[in-house]
Symmetry: C2
Subunit: 297 residues, 2 copies
């Protein structure tokens, strides 16, 4: 079980190439790029994708460079507005979500499932009504997660005082806040990790603060504006912090899973396998929900 | 009515960019490209897409150049095998399809609808059972086409002795053969048009011959290996032939529609709006079926 991801290697698969371009399109769309600017930005994206290194690199490496180029071209973060909106929508749901956790038989597990639900929800696609329906399905404790290491997770929360919590997206971070609050109420010392600079709709310090995390726990950045957590691109300070053996690491989202799956059994990955490539690698269906302990590093 | 497409202008929309790359992927997949060859070909595709001219060009212009580059890189036509297979599958269905037309109340309209059904069917996705189900739905004369100029079409077939029939894909060409046979049985003089060289799964002389068109009607090529019918890229001979005013033109498929929609009311477009962009331009749903007379040129 500790080596469940040892045979898996994330790399760029053929299906990733059109998805890269689709992601560039989304960035342009939410950033309000239109008219003649679309082919101008897209040509630059194609140049970036042509020059990318696809040998032994994850898709996160490629999309990090691509999104950086888009931000440079637009002279702005195209996702800034949408991130604030996602946080705002999720914050409106916060009281009801807190109530669901408080009244559930196993609040910590409920909060963990809620955090996975938060990763499922794409606030760009669903409206708030749909979000609540998705949450209800995720919180149905009679339905199994596709990979469920909840028991190990509960034990580790008991044993480890220190928790390093790698955040994923804005909006979703409000769901993470509820799990962080549960951990803190159990006396855990939580450090939340954000990106040092914007990339896609990933949580930065500003977004985490906007979601109410400031004052609740320590927030650090990983020194990087890359998709996922590409350790060699992170600051030395973060690498040192990440490397401590005496902590539980909670890793949210597919990007962090993609880049950290081989980094050891102290990591618990909470995410949905949103893309077909990752789901196939895992031997699961697209949309599978996981609370999965990592393999030995 | 004669100007139904006058307000429509086909160009490269944002959604087209990821679709270009998806098409390149399909070409590699059916052409058996794998391993390290995938990023090698894809990098070249990105270079091609970066250099493409997106101002006032149709998607067909861009994909024509891209597919030409892929063929050059592979030193082969990746679709050659799949085209022969599509023809073979469709030829097995030929006797049953002929019977359906022969026993229908309006054989010419049934054959036209069958030709549209042939455009609907993607032999790469459906197996032969599904194909027959799709055909049955298309031939249900109680269900309306989304655009139906059948009455005009019948009148024009009565009036015009000469028919220029622009073929689309292999496999589909067997369905076209049945409509061509109906036209010939009414004394029409049909000239079928194929591509001069391979592009995607479009019909070449070899494919048309394989589908049984040789000996049935005259077959000419358009002098081009472009997607659709980009007139300025076609041979002078074909341009002269296409320009004759006294003929009915039957144009099969979305690519031909995209490139010929403004070329006059003597053209009847038989196709399915397979892509969202074209469907949206037409104000129809994706998958809409059309037997549509063109606008004045």
């Amino acid at each position: 079980m500790n080596n469940r991801f040892s045979d898996i290697s994330m790399r760029v698969f053929p299906e990733c190439y059109p998805c890269f371009v689709r992601q560039a399109n989304i960035a342009m769309e939410v950033g309000g790029v239109n008219g003649d600017s679309v082919p101008r930005v897209m040509k630059s994206v194609f140049r970036c994708l042509e020059r990318a290194d696809y040998s032994n690199k994850t898709p996160a490496h490629v999309t990090s460079a691509m999104h950086r180029r888009i931000r440079r071209l637009l002279k702005a973060d195209p996702f800034r507005g949408v991130k604030a909106r996602y946080n705002s929508i999720a914050l409106k749901m916060y009281p009801e979500l807190k109530e669901k956790v408080a009244t559930s038989p196993r609040p910590l597990i409920t909060a963990a499932r809620l955090a996975i639900a938060g990763n499922i929800i794409d606030f760009g696609i669903y409206d708030s009504v749909d979000i609540m329906g998705t949450v209800d399905r995720a919180l149905d404790l009679n339905s199994a997660l596709d990979v469920d290491d909840s028991d190990d997770f509960l034990l580790e929360v008991e044993e480890k005082e220190q928790v390093l919590y790698l955040l994923d997206n804005s909006g979703e971070v409000v769901f993470d806040r509820i799990l962080i609050e549960e951990l803190i109420s159990r006396g855990r010392n939580v450090t939340a990790v954000v990106k040092a600079g914007p990339v896609i709709n990933d949580c930065t310090m500003e977004d985490a603060t906007g979601a109410g995390l400031a004052g609740l726990c320590k927030i650090i950045d990983n020194g990087s504006d890359h998709v996922g957590t590409i350790l060699e691109q992170c600051s030395m300070g973060f690498q040192e912090r990440f490397g401590r053996r005496d902590q539980l690491v909670i890793s949210k989202g597919q990007g962090n899973f993609e880049t950290l799956m081989h980094e050891g059994s102290r990591i618990y990955f909470l995410f949905q396998a949103k893309c077909l490539v990752v789901a196939r690698l895992l031997g699961l269906g697209q949309g599978a929900m996981l609370l999965a302990r990592g393999g030995k590093s």
